[in-house]
């Protein structure tokens, strides 16, 4: 959820939503010092951790999607690369170090201002530990993936491509968009 910026981050005065000179979009601009507060999409990074013929999923201990399964991932932090962020999230949520092999998917989710980037990754061993944000973590054979209990459509789309590509032993790179569920019958489009 994107909250409005009601007060200036630099001087604490009230802001108003106006189009700054030379711009073409409304921004929260300070009424006192004129500081412009830009808001931009956030990057979510994660991995598809593979161990032999299994992939690793986490069952979420937090909202959104409490109790549902997902791939390890989360918001990229300042000061890190996309790969470092994806590996950090995997350690935090699954207690396992992974070696990243390639970027697998990039999905825009414009209605929630996010871009998701998921990496193929190999686990170094099969030891896993649920982090604070996971109820449990478990290795799944592709046939046993709980498709009806996945937390997010972007994760379903990514995993569907992954399982399909794996069955053909031909992994490609996927770029797509997740549109609002109510507007469109399809969960995603991929080029």
């Amino acid at each position: 959820m994107i909250l409005p910026i009601q007060f200036c981050s630099q001087c604490g005065a009230r802001t108003s939503l106006t189009i700054p000179p030379g711009d073409n979009l409304p921004r929260f601009v300070c009424e006192a010092c004129q500081h412009i507060h830009y808001q931009n999409p956030k990057i979510v990074v994660g991995t598809i951790p593979q161990w032999e013929d299994h992939i690793l999923l986490c069952r979420r201990a937090i909202e959104p999607g409490y109790g549902k399964w997902t791939l390890p991932g989360g918001f990229m932090e300042d000061g890190e690369t996309v790969e470092q962020g994806a590996m950090r999230e995997t350690v935090e949520e699954c207690g396992t170090a992974v070696k990243i092999t390639s970027l697998y998917s990039v999905y825009s989710i414009p209605h929630i201002n996010q871009v998701h980037m998921m990496f193929r990754a190999n686990m170094r061993d099969s030891h896993v530990t649920a982090g604070e944000e996971s109820l449990e973590v478990r290795l799944f054979r592709h046939d046993d993936i709980p498709w009806d209990e996945l937390a997010f459509r972007v994760i379903r789309a990514t995993m569907k491509h992954y399982v399909d590509d794996s069955a053909q032993d031909a992994f490609s790179f996927h770029v797509g968009t997740i549109l609002p569920a109510s507007d469109h019958p399809h969960t995603s489009r991929t080029r």
Copy 2:
């Protein structure tokens, strides 16, 4: 440049830099209402516009890199996809509509908290117009690219790959990191 968030966006009170409960990184937290202000990397999207055997470059009319050449690109906005952002920036800076063909490169630049995503794109015609942020826009044959007058290392790295791939008529997808210039002799690494 990342400015500190000195005042709360929700109530206007002072913030302090502390690690919130359950977190492991310092954040600007409101001393009154406890609102946590997260700061995350920004996405820069752009295109490599191609017209016959030329690519389109813009000469920057703003800092950083005033007077130097670059590919069209800029900060992705809330509510758009990466492709929409890349096309919007190309229209704004070069006055030309492009058809995106594929995602070409993803570069992390951790010391400035940015991730750059550049797309291969075909121009619909050769008509171009410099936007407000460009002094001029011009089509260059690959042999005429002004390598010593490029504005940013990430643009140089992307264009170098593009020209090399083009010479071999084999375009691949490039993922890399741009490290601070002072720390490392190489401008980038790519997997």
